[in-house]
Symmetry: C2
Subunit: 249 residues, 2 copies
Amino acid sequence: MENFIYGKNSVLELISSNMRSINRIILQKGLHSSPKIEKIIALAKNRGIAFQFLPKEQFQKYSEVPHQGVIAYVPPVEYTDFNDFLKKDKQYKRVIITDRIEDSYNMGSIIRTAVCAGFDAVIFPKRRNAMINAAAEKSSAGAVNHIDLIMADSLAAIIDKLKNAGFWVIAADINADDNYFEIDYCRMNFAIVLGSEKSGISSSLLKQADYRVKIPMLRNFDSLNVSNAASILMYEAVRQIMQKSPNIV
Amino acid sequence: MENFIYGKNSVLELISSNMRSINRIILQKGLHSSPKIEKIIALAKNRGIAFQFLPKEQFQKYSEVPHQGVIAYVPPVEYTDFNDFLKKDKQYKRVIITDRIEDSYNMGSIIRTAVCAGFDAVIFPKRRNAMINAAAEKSSAGAVNHIDLIMADSLAAIIDKLKNAGFWVIAADINADDNYFEIDYCRMNFAIVLGSEKSGISSSLLKQADYRVKIPMLRNFDSLNVSNAASILMYEAVRQIMQKSPNIV
């Protein structure tokens, strides 16, 4: 199934970044011309991407999203088989696991940061987690095909397998005793587990974790956005690895 | 001018968190009842917040946003005068400056993290920067009135004044030589400057900075979302301060 990216800015970003192949672009007939639209058309011509102007009615089915008369179709997101991922030859693997994240925007944003931070995979449950839909594609800024995305039937089973394969499992938990920067992320395979926006990590998964860490709150306000929390945790690992064992980044 | 928060989840979060006072809540007549709606009504009764059911037509003016028939009106965002902020008595002040951030969602999210990280103010230019509107309120999760928000006529002038007041100015710049974790955030007043999603910090402001720092990209993908970048920088300061001089957090 094709995915789509919508909106002037997002399509322009997509086509400029060259991060994701584009099947075709549709533009609404009678669209007010603008520098951004012209740039999209110029880049499409330049890269040999088909584009066409279609009447307004053809955009009816996208009325749920603010498409601004510009939609790019991209190949479906590719998923990686968990066992294939485990078999990949790499000294230390770093993984993010999301447990019931509700918001696709957050999901896309986590994938984007995971790519920047050099993580190897994002694992999420097949059910009760935001899918990698158009909104996630948009906030991922094209990152979705630049990292292994693994859809799990059961996170509990995946976490067991990771542990058997020598991964340390680190759960982000607001009630943890240790701060996230008090544990060592170097020279090991590890998975960071993030929970849902509302209720955190399910208690059964929490029990499977080797470590629980919290991000300290310096005001009486318990409410980091989950994608921001994810960024803080991933980049603490990056910092430690770059400072302590730069040769294995 | 009153602001408003829209959507079942956001209004429920708002009223549950108790972070922001609420003037009144309106609900759409004939709204399909749900556990969330019932919870909103129960909490409104409990906290003595006026609520009323209004016909669909009254929601017409909010058609730009996915309000789901639920809107909470909140008092206007309060802004702080820059000179009053400078006069406040505090040993070390930590500030975020945003230069032409376009997306209100990002703006709200930065404010939210700044509150969590114990920063003292968010400063942004009056023009050509996303305003603290309904979308920003929503992504701030009620944080907007828990930190000094300062609207500047000129960021250049503000940065000069900050420097004169003993602040170190740290610019986030993708082309910097130093990584963000290589500088010391302890025992000093500092301001972190973040640039626009598209083009970073304007070159004139960049010249005013005492330090330029980058967040290293571990893949060939130059594209952290600005609110995630902000979180990484703010929490590196938190980490250093908590680890090196915990008594002055």
